[in-house]
Structures are given as structure tokens and as C-alpha cells.
């Protein structure tokens, strides 16, 4: 694996007496879309604010491209593009002038590049209009445009799909994957929409109450195989579990008249046959594929905010 472009080491944020982020350690390599998943109020935005230098760190260190975000801010942020929470722009300026505004702050961004980005996010038709007149999704697109204007090496997007229509979400997803694979940049996306993360990310970190709970690989060789849990509806669950036990399978009770067991296609048929042979009535069989959502709820315990 390449040298990580972003390193978070023991990052801690306290506001007053509350610990909002608790010793967070993460490495992000180039060429990967990294998801940052957590329920509301878990500290995603706070972490991102610290990564882009909007908030100070109570403890720990963040380096981007080898530069400390606190000590060498200008160097560290040079190759970062970001949206933090909602992409608020100057409403009294046109979308185009907003982009020019940000383009001026980094040397080497040509007008041609601005037009290119406008086209990429699909805002050609409305770019000369005042941002005041934009819809939420259009503002989000403009937000993405300002973030990629200077071809950053690290793209940080805080809930970028918020407000986008399905086509927009799809485009963004494809584009982010393209950026990471073709241009080799690191993309860091936060979200609480799990299904979306599954489609978009290579790896996902799960955060809860400011603590990193788990990092999971979604794509690639290390990706966890989707488990093949099969739920079988029957009339005598306990007897069925005994039958399975005899066959060396660990079945468990699922509700009052169903059992669940790990099984692939072939063994499902075999299990069915042996259950019927033992005189147990089988009413239904369905495969239960565990989604990241289930895993997520499992890990976070489906806990309420706070």
C-alpha cells in the first residue's frame, strides 16, 4: 500500500467538559474512496472540521501529505478540496463568480478549468444565475465544483449526496470512483446513509460517540463475504435445531416458529430434505443477506442519538 496521504493520530476534541472526538486514529491511502459512517451527532463533521483546520485539536495530530494541519496549515491544505456540512456560497454572486472567487485563491486555475468543472457537475445552464436562485441539489453540485476546482489530492465531502436527486447521486458516485481509480486521489466521504456507502466506498470506518468502532473493507480481496443466513419457517423449531445439530450445523431460534442457519445454495436443499424426512413441516425458506446496514446497526447497537 502507498504511503497514506492523511494520517489522524489520537485525534481528540473536547468542548467544555464533553469529549466529542475520542482518540481517533486513521490512515487514508491514495486511490481509495473511504467512507466515514456514523449516526447523527457521532462526530463526523467535527472530525472533518479538524481535518481542514477549521477547528483546533485538543490532542493528537493530523497530517496531510506529510504536513501537520496545525503547524503547516498552508502547505497541508494546498491539495485538499472539501465540503463541510452544507456548501454555503455567496448568495448574491452568481455560481460562476463564486467559483472565480475560489479559483483566485489558488494560483494556476485557468478560466478553462472553471468551465470544465462547471460542465462536469452539470451546471452549465444555470451557472450565470445568482446562487440565491439555486435549489439545494444545485448548491450541492456547486459545492462539489469548488472542491475539485484545483484538482486536489484529497477530497473531503461531508454528506455530499444530501439534496441530490437519484441521477445526481449516481453521477457523483461514479465520478468519485473514477477520481480515485483513474487520478489516484483519496476521497473521504461522510454519511449516515449506509446503503450509499456500500455502493461508493472501498473501506468504511464506523464512528459512534466520537470513537472509532470499526474499519471494514467493502471491496477488494479483503471484503467480507456476505453471509448466507437462511431463515426457515417451520412448525417445531426445537426439533429442527436438533435435526441440524445431528447434521453438524448450528441452527438458532429466530422468533417463535422459525430457525436461522448458515448455509449456501446446495446445503439449503439438503437441510430442507432432512427436515421434511424428520417429519417437520417446512412453510418457507428465505436467504437473508446481511447488508452493511445490518452490520452497522449491529455494531452501533442501533443506539439512539446522544
Amino acid at each position: 500500500m502507498e504511503q497514506p496521504i492523511v494520517k489522524l493520530h489520537n485525534v481528540t476534541k473536547k468542548i467544555g467538559k464533553r469529549t466529542i472526538i475520542d482518540r481517533l486514529t486513521l490512515d487514508l491511502p491514495l486511490g481509495e474512496v473511504f467512507g466515514f459512517l456514523g449516526p447523527n451527532g457521532s462526530g463526523k463533521t467535527t472530525t472533518i472540521r479538524m481535518m481542514v483546520g477549521l477547528m483546533s485539536l485538543t490532542d493528537g495530530e493530523i497530517t496531510i501529505g506529510g504536513h501537520s494541519i496545525t503547524k503547516e496549515y498552508e502547505k497541508a491544505i494546498r491539495h485538499v478540496g472539501a465540503i463541510v456540512e452544507n456548501p454555503e456560497m455567496y448568495k448574491y454572486l452568481s455560481g460562476y463568480d463564486n467559483l472565480i472567487h475560489y479559483a483566485r485563491m489558488i494560483p494556476g486555475i485557468t478560466e478553462h478549468r472553471v468551465h470544465e468543472v462547471v460542465k462536469l457537475v452539470g451546471l452549465e445552464g444555470r451557472i450565470r444565475d445568482k446562487v440565491r436562485t439555486y435549489s439545494l441539489g444545485m448548491r450541492q453540485r456547486l459545492g462539489v465544483a469548488q472542491a475539485i476546482l484545483h484538482k486536489p489530492q484529497l477530497l473531503i465531502l461531508d454528506e455530499p449526496t444530501n439534496g441530490l436527486d437519484p441521477a445526481g447521486i449516481r453521477e457523483l458516485r461514479d465520478y468519485l470512483r473514477l477520481l480515485s481509480k483513474e487520478e489516484g486521489i483519496a476521497v473521504f466521504v461522510s454519511s449516515h446513509l449506509l446503503s450509499e456507502m456500500e455502493l461508493m466506498c472501498d473501506r468504511v470506518a464506523i464512528i459512534q460517540n466520537g470513537k472509532l468502532i470499526d474499519v471494514r473493507t467493502i471491496r477488494g480481496e479483503h471484503a467480507a463475504k456476505a453471509s448466507n443466513r437462511v431463515v426457515i419457517e417451520i412448525d417445531q423449531p426445537q426439533a429442527a435445531i436438533n435435526v441440524l445439530q445431528a447434521a453438524g450445523l448450528a441452527g438458532e431460534l429466530e422468533g417463535t416458529n422459525a430457525i436461522a442457519v448458515e448455509a449456501d445454495r446446495e446445503s439449503t436443499a439438503a437441510i430442507n430434505a432432512s427436515l421434511v424426512a424428520a417429519g417437520i413441516k417446512v412453510y418457507g425458506i428465505r436467504a437473508q443477506v446481511k447488508t452493511l446496514e445490518d452490520q452497522f446497526l449491529e455494531v452501533t447497537g442501533g443506539e439512539r442519538i446522544g
Binding site: 472540521r49 481542514v52 483546520g53 477549521l54 477547528m55 483546533s56 496549515y73 498552508e74 502547505k75 491544505i77 494546498r78 485538499v80 472539501a82 465540503i83 463541510v84 456540512e85 452544507n86 456548501p87 454555503e88 456560497m89 455567496y90 448568495k91 448574491y92 454572486l93 463568480d97 472567487h101 475560489y102 483566485r104 485563491m105 489558488i106 494560483p107 459545492g143 469548488q146
Partner: protein
């Protein structure tokens, strides 16, 4: 890093692309016109000197220049916070100090621009109304006893008021940074400016030494033009020193707070 000018260009864009800025300029010029025309209609034209009208208008309307600039200065930092645009503004390869400096400079340019517009429009309008064919009795009366050149007197007047303007606007800019609310900054700055100013004459009469160090005793520098300072023994140099100390404190506080603050809006 890089060239600083584009940052000022950006801040200028944010000031001059807003209609309110041009409304302010319009109001200023319109008031100059109105006063001169009213004077033309109701006053006695033959013995009115253009300098008298120009000076009268300047001394009244400079207050408006101050108010308008305070409004812009108060919005400078606060509006970036209330609109949330501060986040995208700060995550660029520029230190916070430089971003703040670009804002400050553009506001100072605006203050200067308004002052120049006022100066220019009073001279032009009154030259047209009263100057071109001034009556034989027209005599400039405001210059006081020394009978000097009215133009250089006006320049001195503008110079001194500009110094106070810079201090006042810096105060508003500081309040904007501290409160992150333009309303509060405008209210507070104008309250100090107008509210306290009406008591300043009274306060000046009190016989305590600490009054010598109050900002408001020194904000009206034109008191030295006619040679009768508000408090006995005060000189222009002394007032400038006190203002200078305040100025440095305002600037230091503003930059310190802006650099330290967590942006969590």
C-alpha cells in the same frame, strides 16, 4: 504564499457586487445635490460662497460616510459566519491572518472611496451651483480668523476626519469579529459613536485625569482645526497618540481572536 492581490479583489467583489453598496453611494451623492439645490432655491445666491456650502455639507454628511463604512465593516467578518461561507473561505492555502487582512484592506479602500466621493461631489456640485458665476459679495466665511485657503482647509478637515474614521471602522471590524453578528456590531459601534458622542462635551468638562485617555474625547480631531480643544491642554499630537494606542489594541485583539476561534457555525 502566492500573490495577495487576488484576495483583495475577492473582497472587493463581495462589497461592490451588492446593491446596498451602490445605494449608499447614491444616497450620499443625492443628499449633496439636494442640500445644494435647496440652498440655491431658498438661500441667497449672490453672497453665498461655494466653499461655505461644500464645507457645511461635508461636515454633516461625513457622519453618513462613517455610518455606511461601519455597516460594511460590521458585515465584513460577521456575515461570513452567519451565512456559513466562512468555512469554504478559510480552507484555502492562505493563513487566517492574510484572509482577515484582505478584508480589512478592502473595507479601508471603501472608506476612502466614500470620502473621496463626498469630497468630489460637494466640490463639483457647489462649483456648478455657486462657483461658476459667483456674486461679487460672495465671501468664504468658515475658514475662521486666519483667512487661509479654503481648499487646503477642507483637505485638512478631511484628513483629520479620515483618521477618526479609520479608528471607528477598525472598532466596528473588531466587534464584527468578536460577536460574529453584524447587527450587534453595527448597533454597538453606532451606539458608541453617536450615543457617547452626545455626552462627550459633558464628560470632557469633568475634572478626572482618566478622561484624558477615553477614546471618545479624541475621536473628533477637527477640534484642533480652530484651535479650541475640548479639554484644556490637549494637543493634536496627544490625541493621535491615544488613538494610535487604541488602534493597535483593536487590531491585535481582532487578529488574535480570528486566528484562535474554532469555526463551528
Amino acid at each position: 504564499m502566492g500573490n495577495f492581490l487576488p484576495l483583495i479583489q475577492n473582497e472587493n467583489m463581495k462589497i461592490y457586487r451588492r446593491p446596498r453598496t451602490w445605494v449608499m453611494v447614491g444616497i450620499l451623492v443625492l443628499l449633496v445635490l439636494t442640500i445644494s439645490i435647496l440652498w440655491l432655491i431658498f438661500g441667497e445666491r449672490s453672497n453665498t460662497s461655494m466653499w461655505d456650502v461644500a464645507f457645511m455639507e461635508s461636515s454633516i454628511l461625513f457622519l453618513l460616510v462613517t455610518i455606511f463604512t461601519v455597516v460594511i465593516a460590521a458585515g465584513g467578518v460577521a456575515e461570513e459566519f452567519t451565512s456559513g461561507t466562512i468555512k469554504l473561505l478559510l480552507i484555502r492555502p492562505w493563513s487566517r491572518s492574510k484572509i482577515l487582512l484582505s478584508k480589512y484592506i478592502s473595507i479601508m479602500i471603501f472608506a476612502l472611496l466614500l470620502a473621496i466621493i463626498l469630497f468630489g461631489s460637494t466640490l463639483l456640485v457647489n462649483w456648478i451651483c455657486f462657483g461658476i458665476n459667483a456674486g461679487p459679495d460672495a465671501e468664504t466665511t468658515f475658514v475662521g480668523m486666519d483667512g487661509g485657503n479654503p481648499f487646503s482647509y477642507m483637505l485638512k478637515y478631511y484628513g483629520l476626519t479620515l483618521v477618526s474614521l479609520v479608528v471607528t471602522v477598525t472598532l466596528a471590524f473588531m466587534l464584527s469579529t468578536i460577536f460574529r453578528s453584524s447587527g450587534l456590531a453595527i448597533g454597538f459601534a453606532l451606539f458608541l459613536l453617536l450615543g457617547v458622542n452626545s455626552f462627550v462635551g459633558l464628560i470632557a468638562m469633568l475634572d478626572y485625569t482618566w478622561i484624558d485617555y477615553l477614546l471618545f474625547i479624541h475621536l473628533n480631531l477637527t477640534q484642533y482645526l480652530d484651535g479650541n480643544p475640548m479639554r484644556e491642554g490637549m494637543t493634536l499630537g496627544y490625541s493621535l497618540t491615544v488613538l494610535g494606542v487604541y488602534y493597535v489594541v483593536f487590531i491585535a485583539l481582532t487578529w488574535y481572536i480570528f486566528n484562535k476561534r474554532d469555526v463551528a457555525s
